[in-house]
């Protein structure tokens, strides 16, 4: 398999207010991988994703996705934000949320049609959430909410998934559904970039790894990158021993 770079980040520096969060980072995400981003708290993982997606100001650096700028590839990238960024009091149903995945294809003003509803229903079905289509979003459990957001990404039919801690606060069953989804997507030629926090499951769930602590510590194939030395270098080695 040739290693195509699908997301290319060069010299990325970002700051939050006056504090620099990311310094001069080069990141290469390889096409058709399940890439995990790990790092200690405050390492700038979410900031990195937001910088790549153009959601937060960057001080310097360039980002290319499939050889283009982010603004040219909105349809091809699906972002699944951390669940605390969502307005849970908003009156809407699970199906409605999934339908939002179709908005990028509709453009301004146009409303979703029958075909979009069909796609949304299918996406809910893939996540095992078809029985909850009419349910108010705030009445769902943490795991169910996360499945709805993944269903939205499915409905968007993107090539690259960016996920910010999708496994945080979800039940075991949902965790399996999400990981199966990532593996299926890979079989269909898609790429996932996922912020992950559990070192125990890291090597089972993902095949590529980026270790970040304000700077890139290491990146590449999981087997070569997940080493004790790299974890120690990122201040993540404490208490955790690699047993390969």
């Amino acid at each position: 398999m040739s290693e195509n770079i699908i997301v290319k980040v060069e010299d990325l520096t970002m700051a939050y207010h006056d504090k620099p969060v990311l310094w001069d980072n080069d990141v290469n995400i390889i096409e058709n991988t399940r890439t995990a981003i790990i790092g200690p708290n405050g390492a700038g993982k979410s900031t990195l994703l937001k910088g790549i997606l153009g959601l937060q100001k960057t001080l310097s650096g360039t980002v290319e996705i499939m050889g283009k700028s982010v603004k040219q590839v909105h349809k091809k990238i699906a972002y699944i934000p951390q669940s605390n960024s969502v307005n849970w009091d908003f009156p809407t149903t699970a199906l409605d949320v999934v339908l939002m995945g179709r908005y990028v294809h509709l453009g301004w003003i146009k409303r979703p049609g029958k075909k979009d509803i069909e796609i949304a229903k299918n996406a809910l079905y893939k996540m095992g959430m078809q029985d909850y289509a009419k349910r108010q979003i705030s009445q769902l459990s943490g795991g169910q909410k996360q499945r709805v957001f993944i269903a939205r990404a499915i409905a968007q039919n993107a090539e690259i998934y960016f996920m910010d801690e999708p496994l945080a606060g979800v039940d075991k069953n949902t965790e399996k559904v999400i990981i199966d989804f990532l593996k299926d997507s890979q079989k269909q030629g898609k790429t996932s970039i996922v912020i992950h926090h559990d070192l125990n499951t890291l090597a089972d769930y993902f095949d590529y790894l980026v270790i970040l602590n304000k700077r890139i510590i290491a990146q590449g194939k999981m087997s070569k990158t997940l080493t004790q030395a790299n974890l120690d270098a990122a201040d993540m080695g404490g208490g955790f021993k690699i047993n390969v």
Binding site: I77, D96, Y103, Q136
Partner: protein, 323 residues
């Protein structure tokens, strides 16, 4: 027996029918009532829908701040034009409301103060400035010559004095505002629910904010003469809060808010027309708030329903433990 009642109802003409349900036909058909009622109903309908968005976006108090902050603009517009012309005063209100909004955003972005503190400071500073200017021109040799009795109407509102031109102004603002809401319904929805995702698919949140502030500002500016700088924010906030108690669908919430607004406007205007000395704006707001309180209590998401649900849950729990 029932056929007699039926015949009797048929024989009643429309006026009597209204009288029979307790409404005074004489008042309902008077020109003043029709103008005031149309004005307040259209305003309350649009304000209710626009306000629902600000409520859901967690920015209810910004409407309040803009309302208060528009007052000095009215006085300054009067000082420049030396007349009580509705249009120029409205433009003054919009300019000063916009300046206040920009200052609020600037301080909020560049300081560590909480938004509510910033709002409170700007709100009182602007409104205070308005009051200072008003007392300054009252005894002034130049401005004092022009009749300025209408200026205090913009504090508490004086719906009874609105004329056809004011209703036209309300319509000019209401129609484009509703059109924006209708056209960008989908965009507003995703902007309120998940702003980060909205940005990730290329929807400019700055543009959405500008649209939202634009329609909020124009609703406030047209509503000032009817309801006044102090109470206008309740036209924006209360119908939305009421509607959110009754539905889990955004489209339904918007429609309910519009209905709550217009029904309150009708009842409030009617009450103020029947009983001498009752101001229209405050009457409408009392009716609106009454509906909001009732909804908080008896709606499907209200206190009563919550209490019943909890009791049922505890009953089921104790049953399952003891069985």
């Amino acid at each position: 027996m029932s056929s007699i009642v039926f015949e009797k109802i048929i024989s009643l003409n429309f006026a009597n029918l209204l009288n029979a349900i307790g409404l005074d036909f004489e008042i309902l058909s008077s020109y003043t009532f029709v103008v005031v009622c149309l004005g307040t109903m259209i305003l309350a309908t649009v304000a209710g829908m626009v306000g629902t968005i600000t409520v859901l976006k967690g920015q209810s108090l910004i409407g309040d701040a803009i309302g208060h902050s528009s007052y000095p603009g009215i006085i300054i517009a009067f000082m420049i034009c030396m007349s009580l012309d509705s249009v120029s005063l409205m433009i003054g209100a919009i300019i000063s409301g916009t300046v206040a909004f920009i200052i609020i955003q600037f301080i909020d972005k560049n300081s560590k103060l909480n938004l509510d503190a910033v709002l409170a400071v700007i709100l009182s500073a602007f409104f205070g400035l308005g009051m200072v200017l008003k007392s300054f021109i009252q005894g002034h040799p130049v401005y004092g010559k022009v009749p300025q009795g209408g200026l205090s109407n913009y504090i508490f509102g004086q719906a009874a004095f609105i004329r056809t031109i004011d209703v036209h102004l309300i319509l000019i603002v209401a129609i484009p505002s509703l059109l924006i809401l209708f056209l960008f319904y989908k965009e507003f929805k995703i902007f309120i629910f998940d702003e980060v995702y909205a940005k990730s698919i290329g929807l400019s949140s700055t543009l959405m904010y500008v649209l939202l502030v634009l329609i909020t500002m124009s609703v406030i500016a047209t509503g000032l003469k009817l309801v006044g700088a102090i109470l206008i924010s309740s036209f924006l906030i209360v119908p939305g809060i009421t509607a959110l108690q009754w539905s889990n669908r955004f489209s339904h919430v918007l429609i309910i808010a519009a209905i709550v607004g217009s029904v309150s406007a009708f009842i409030g205007t009617y009450i103020s027309s029947v009983y001498a000395g009752m101001s229209t704006g405050p009457c409408i707001i009392v009716v609106m708030s009454g509906l909001a309180f009732i909804s908080m209590f008896i709606s499907p998401k209200g206190l009563l329903a919550n209490w019943l649900r909890r009791r049922k849950y505890l009953n089921d729990l104790s049953k399952s433990i003891f069985d």
